[in-house]
Symmetry: C2
Subunit: 583 residues, 2 copies
Amino acid sequence: MYRSHNCGELNASNINTEVTLAGWVQKSRDKGFMNWVDLRDRYGITQLIFDEVRTDKTVFELAKTLGREFVIQVKGTVIEREAKNKNIPTGDIEILVTELTILNAALTPPFTIEDETDGGEDIRMKYRYLDIRRNPVKNSLLFRHKVAMEVRKYLSDLDFCEVETPYLIKSTPEGARDFVVPSRMNEGQFYALPQSPQTFKQLLMVGGMDKYFQIVKCFRDEDLRADRQPEFTQIDCEMAFVEQEDILNVFEGLTRHLLKEIKGVEVAKFPRITYDYAMKTYGNDKPDIRFGMEFGELNEFAQHKDFPVFNAAELVVGIAVPGAGNYTRKEIDALIDWVKRPQVGASGMVYAKCNDDGTYKSSVDKFYDQDDLGQWAKITGAKPGDMIFVLSGPANKTRAQLSALRMELATRLGLRKPEEFAPLWVVDFPLLELDEESGRYHAMHHPFTSPKPEDMQLLETEPGKVRANAYDMVLNGNEIGGGSIRIHDKATQQLMFKYLGFTEEEAKAQFGFLMDAFQFGAPPHGGLAFGLDRLVAILGGQETIRDFIAFPKNNSGRDVMIDAPATIDDAQLKELHIKVDLV
Amino acid sequence: MYRSHNCGELNASNINTEVTLAGWVQKSRDKGFMNWVDLRDRYGITQLIFDEVRTDKTVFELAKTLGREFVIQVKGTVIEREAKNKNIPTGDIEILVTELTILNAALTPPFTIEDETDGGEDIRMKYRYLDIRRNPVKNSLLFRHKVAMEVRKYLSDLDFCEVETPYLIKSTPEGARDFVVPSRMNEGQFYALPQSPQTFKQLLMVGGMDKYFQIVKCFRDEDLRADRQPEFTQIDCEMAFVEQEDILNVFEGLTRHLLKEIKGVEVAKFPRITYDYAMKTYGNDKPDIRFGMEFGELNEFAQHKDFPVFNAAELVVGIAVPGAGNYTRKEIDALIDWVKRPQVGASGMVYAKCNDDGTYKSSVDKFYDQDDLGQWAKITGAKPGDMIFVLSGPANKTRAQLSALRMELATRLGLRKPEEFAPLWVVDFPLLELDEESGRYHAMHHPFTSPKPEDMQLLETEPGKVRANAYDMVLNGNEIGGGSIRIHDKATQQLMFKYLGFTEEEAKAQFGFLMDAFQFGAPPHGGLAFGLDRLVAILGGQETIRDFIAFPKNNSGRDVMIDAPATIDDAQLKELHIKVDLV
């Protein structure tokens, strides 16, 4: 062992102890006759002192050669510091060094190894191993481990069994694009990497495992949006002989446990709202409910006058922005420009100030009197001093626009507090959603989701209205998990594939094994999956997942540190029975 | 919830309770006026009773329609059984059923769902979800979970941090064949699936993570021998600022903990033997030391007479087989045939019986007198009643042959007791091994293993003699883990690549990122990896790993249940910029 203690544990109680430490040189301050070095490891920083009088001359001179990030080992005595540092646990002591060994020299790192570094994203990704030395990244990885351990403990204690499902499986055209793996031993054939262990966990239920979970890597070959990764980690779960209520209770319990154990936050029973309610009230199926600004639908009190814009709209909908009644004309115009940006896409925005004296001043005073505006205030919940913003147009689009505005204003007003947690369930998701391009219905969750029995008869006539036993857990405006009760009989599963446009042959070729399994005694079952990367980031009070992934890829799916992907040998291609086919 | 209790928990204390159970019909015994059904779930079996007098007629009739593996839900009252079954925890009670719901019917399964099934390997693999219902498989998966949880708890408590390393990495020609993944976004380029997270865990050490572990899937595209899988699971670990001794202590501690917690077995400090000693004494670098039969080298007492076979041999070596002195001529001949099989490859075998009266009777009495044979007995440790078997020839081959015989005899003599555990460390592995085909030296462990400093100067002159700081943990004749102290400076790593035949360009292209990292302050580090599949199988007292993997592949790398790998669409190939290239 290269050390007797780590760099985070020595304090006044160790004074006069002989110790051996090892770590990295964080910085040195050379005063000529005296030289202080901050020695860093994963656990903290300990100050070393070399002085002309008390330190051996060779050691003293060697210490002057130390550069940043040199790896050294020192022996010495713990002594009391003259100038104590109350900000770190080791701040009362320093080490008077008697022996110094340079274990490895270091080039000057391309960016500073500090909490606030001078390195940009690209350079930090290329030298990710240096970035990991920084507290913000290192602590995020330690935090992730802690969360994963708590998840495992909690579920294990409830008799869930972690089962490893295979990574080399079969490609299916359903869902996102698969990554595939050519098989050398099976010419012309390919494995696929799993987008999720969905069918395997269902087969485990058919196999009687009863309660399954797995923290597992999943893969999607999608064009990467910011903060998406081609490989990501799920907490994947499934239970047999349960109804939706049972699943919600277990995973609400898990999330409450994590909030309490990891964050010390106690939360009440999670609100449950329907998908329809979420869309109407927040314009969004993953609402952030740390703050209000619920939507007020104003058609009744906005379409009875001669304002043609509102009269022509399918939906007139507003929100009351707390304390924004004093926004200047300029601020309001900037917000109107903001909603008119192509990313949001509104064609304009109406506002109504709620004055402190109970009167209103709006941009449409020509059309609406104080009584009308009073109704708007009542419906949106506006109080004196607030501002009502109103959008109008096709219902779905307008809701999405107002949702974007609501989130933007919440961010600007500081209402999205990272250390506040507001989880909820959104339930009764539609089974199917219309793909506007193809005009066809797709499974909103996946093709194994069970329709609500009472809605089954709508499948032929109004497929868009069929609700599923599907649910999402939402935390602070992010979907952190989702799941459903599954189909567990062959007939319903066949019907579902038919509605999704599979021929009987396709369904059989791709999912025959699952439908076979349903014939051999499949129990009722359901489950859900959490996105671990996102969950950890939110619990950590962050918006982006990248710091919580040790070696993330960039938006082109590249690992810029190891420079992957890369070309491979012709011999290797030949063995795999494939050729590169560039356009 | 479909049940108030599971099928393993009701007993006499629950008598007169109303309960709801759900599960699978294990079997029914219909006596006409009375009908018993064994209801099974993951947790056990509970007996249901339907009787003409006490059971509602509809329910009674419905019960008669139940087939094996039907999924049912029942409500009823816990009553005392007349004929108790002391073999199961629920054997004192049965459920007098009042309501019966068939949740899912079942076709007759293609093999019996019993501990001893009538199904062959192939059919059980195709219907793996049914095989998992059987106790031997189900319990193996539960056992695996328990082992993995204990590993995580133990290492976490020692401040190890589980870090997820990427699955989409870069192919390297070193080592076994990679599985590769064509990149859609990076034309003509490929990811590789990791054979192990080796370089990433070393980079985590450079990044200051200090103590890392991960239970992680790894991939090797090798021609599959029996009991090998293309995807397998490692317990992967790495530590910084440590020497070999520190690593051995931590992982000896882990293994001792597992043996104690999981098996209730206390083991003493693990013996440590060198690779050279292991080869000389057991002919094998993963000796099973649950039993003796150590090799005795007999050259001195076998080459002084006129027996040309021994005189021409590089090595004459024997073992004493306990209690085998009474083997008949026929039994001995059968063993001689066994060692002459091509799989073993000996050209013959000499034996010497140790009679109870202290005399000897050998197949070479013509050449050797009682004194000679007495020396053989002394060196092999043979006692009266034992049998000495002697092989001769080139040293390495002969050791391997005698090792095979030693293991075979131990199996036949029942000395390989599954519930006895004899772990040990084998240390001081050679750094390099000669590839007889190419005449080139390969890294025995991997190219990142550190040579012993004192052997460095032999690299130029006698590369085969350079020892590494490399070690294996061996348990009951299986290598369950191995590792090494790594190189942590660029110069040595460059030298090593040179000795392994890499050009400077190749080394840079493939491992430039690692050598770069070594320049920015790499700490001394080392680690090891356990094979989880094998470890769990051995702890479970089994020789094969397949029952401990939920969905294993067959020897052609196929998943016969989902029928993967499979062909994929031309459109998919095109997007990936590849073509199938069949010969």
